[in-house]
């Protein structure tokens, strides 16, 4: 490690705000919403006290927030916002236009469960609802990873072969408000890591170099259809290029700052493992503790943590999954159409590429602020072991609801 850093004690929202400050955005537009509010309050404070030299726009709603940032980004600004849950829903129209415009924004999603019923607490239903909108999605396990990933996100988004917006996801409540020890890198080291600012070099709103943006394309005519398809293909190429760029940027981060994160898929104690728990986000620490304790009892289990969810890291995931004989996938959200967790469904899709059929169980828990403890992961390990003993079945196994009422209790 060749960089000085200082130690702070802060929560995930403050860690994200510090990461943003160190990345020197030009324009920050915000609308507050629980559990994101303190994040944008920290940013407002940084701008008010002059430690962040950015234009702050307090707008009347999330639709305006992202629309304003589109203009700023087209004019060549480095931009940032944060939202979650119903705020993200209100943002949806500009949200889904942003990747097609190839705007390299960075936005935090402080993951919150969706309505109804009424709820203001953590869950990943918000992000899972927009998983195919075309944004890159990374999920963090700790406040330190939140800070570091926000900075890395700008390198990824602005890479010429990517040019796509990035959502850095951190779970509402446990990660947004959980206070821990965090190392803050020095500004010169972050400046060197990010390099000269060259945002959105390809379509600036530059009066000296006018350029059409967002043309009307498509239709039944062959040329229009082909142009539209070419835009979509280009977006897909950007997504696939991101897999390599994300890996490269994480490697550079480790070299510069000494903190090494798995860029796509983390393999935790898969050596000789019979089964693995598949996790995403802040639940992963408790899952690792459960795996350590299980190994002491002679149960050989591991964890596969998904850091990058979009683009889905098929190759990295298959590499990890090939080491085990059954998977228990834990989701903090619901895929209503598949009657299981969305990550579980994606895992099944990736496993097809291996040509192996292994038992995969879907566990849903941690909804609407519910805690996912080591004991819950013990249940995941037990259930997955039972499925391994039973062997693969062509029938879809029943989804397991953690935190749900015991069968027959109450109503």
């Amino acid at each position: 490690m060749n960089n000085m850093s200082r130690i702070a004690v802060c929560d995930g929202n403050e860690a994200a705000a510090i990461g943003v400050k160190l990345s020197r955005p030009d324009v920050v537009a915000v609308y507050p919403i629980t559990p994101q509010s303190s994040l944008v309050e920290y940013l407002s404070k940084f701008i008010a006290e002059g430690t962040l030299d950015a234009e702050l726009m307090n707008l009347e709603g999330e639709h305006s927030v992202l629309s304003a940032l589109q203009g700023a980004c087209l004019a060549g600004a480095r931009t940032y916002t944060a939202t979650c849950g119903p705020g993200l829903a209100f943002m949806f129209e500009p949200y889904i236009r942003t990747p097609g415009l190839r705007l390299p924004m960075v936005a935090s999603l402080v993951n919150r469960d969706m309505l109804s019923p009424q709820c203001v607490w953590g869950g990943q239903q918000d992000v899972m609802t927009v998983r195919d909108a075309g944004w890159i999605h990374m999920f963090c396990e700790s406040a330190q990873e939140v800070l570091d990933t926000v900075i890395m996100a700008y390198r990824i988004a602005e890479h010429p072969e990517v040019m796509l917006p990035v959502n850095v996801n951190h779970d509402g409540n446990y990660l947004s408000y959980g206070v821990t020890r965090v190392e803050i890198p020095e500004q010169p080291a972050v400046d060197a890591f990010l390099g000269p600012k060259n945002v959105n070099w390809h379509t600036p709103l530059d009066p000296d170099r006018p350029m059409a943006v967002d043309p009307l394309t498509g239709g039944a005519d062959a040329e229009g259809a082909a142009v539209f398809a070419a835009y979509r293909q280009s977006q897909c190429r950007g997504m696939q290029a991101a897999l390599r760029v994300i890996a490269d940027v994480h490697a550079e981060w480790a070299a510069a700052f000494g903190r090494r994160y798995a860029p796509l898929v983390e393999e935790y104690r898969l050596d000789g493992a019979d089964i693995a728990i598949v996790t995403i986000g802040s639940m992963s620490g408790a899952a690792k503790d459960a795996v350590d304790a299980a190994r002491e009892r002679g149960i050989v289990a591991g964890v596969i943590r998904i850091k990058t969810f979009r683009p889905f890291p098929v190759e990295a995931f298959v590499h990890a999954a090939a080491k085990v004989r059954a998977l228990g996938v834990v989701d903090r959200s619901v895929s209503f159409g598949w009657n299981c967790g969305p990550v579980a469904q994606e895992v099944l899709g990736a496993l097809y590429r291996t040509g192996r059929t292994i038992p995969v169980l879907s566990f849903i828990g941690g909804l609407a602020g519910a805690d996912l403890t080591e004991e819950h992961f013990d249940q995941v390990i037990d259930g997955t072991l039972r499925a391994l003993e039973a062997g693969p079945s062509p029938a879809t196994p029943e989804t397991n609801w953690l935190n749900a009422r015991a069968e027959g209790a109450g109503r």
């Binding site: 700790s142 959980g178 020890r181 690792k288």
Partner: protein, 189 residues
């Protein structure tokens, strides 16, 4: 050393801020911490709590606490409506704000070490209102010895107080430390 601490208070008394100050003090002493506030529709007077886990090594689990080693209750009337002892481990510690005598305070057999401080009395003298968080951090340091008063005072300097000044809070913490009565296992037996 691995310890789990739960702070109980009412909205407005600063229980969550106290957990952050305590977290800062532990980190300054080279420890690792995770402090997670309970969440609900927080408002002045409603019961709130915060969990804090401290260890010599990095803590990965971001979860609430169900089996605390120590309970800090910064409001004297709260035990009437909240089971502040839920999950307390045998041999545990209670640090309670109250003007009552020790034998007037019901406590389960799991409480081995008992720290008692008339935090509301001190707070009314210093702040003119019952804000007891800094006082009870002093009482915690005195009762458990898990963190030094110096580290807590340093951490206090960096806290963001809405309702009172730093000088008042410094005095409050010092008085909390000085005016806490501790019944340790030997003394109880």
């Amino acid at each position: 050393m691995s310890r789990e601490i739960r702070i109980h208070g009412r909205g407005g008394q600063g229980a969550v801020l106290a957990s952050s100050i305590l977290a800062q003090a532990f980190v300054d002493e080279g420890k690792y911490v995770v402090a997670i506030p309970s969440f609900g529709f927080e408002r002045r007077g409603a019961p709130v709590s915060a969990c804090l886990r401290v260890d010599d090594r990095d803590i990965r689990a971001l979860t609430n606490i169900y089996r605390p080693d120590c309970v800090i209750c910064i409001d004297p009337t709260l035990p009437r409506m909240v089971d502040i002892f839920a999950g307390l481990k045998p041999g545990g510690t209670l640090v309670q704000a109250s003007s009552l005598r020790p034998d007037a305070i019901a406590r389960p057999a799991t409480v081995a070490t008992f720290g008692l401080c008339d935090a509301v009395g001190i707070a009314l003298e210093i702040f003119g209102k019952p804000i007891t968080n800094s006082i009870m951090l002093g009482a915690f340091a005195r009762s458990t010895g898990l963190v030094s008063l110096d580290s807590l005072m340093d951490a206090l300097e960096r806290a963001d107080f809405r309702d009172a000044g730093l000088a008042q809070n410094r005095r409050a913490m010092q008085r909390g430390y000085a005016e806490t009565e501790v019944l340790a296992p030997e003394a109880v037996a």
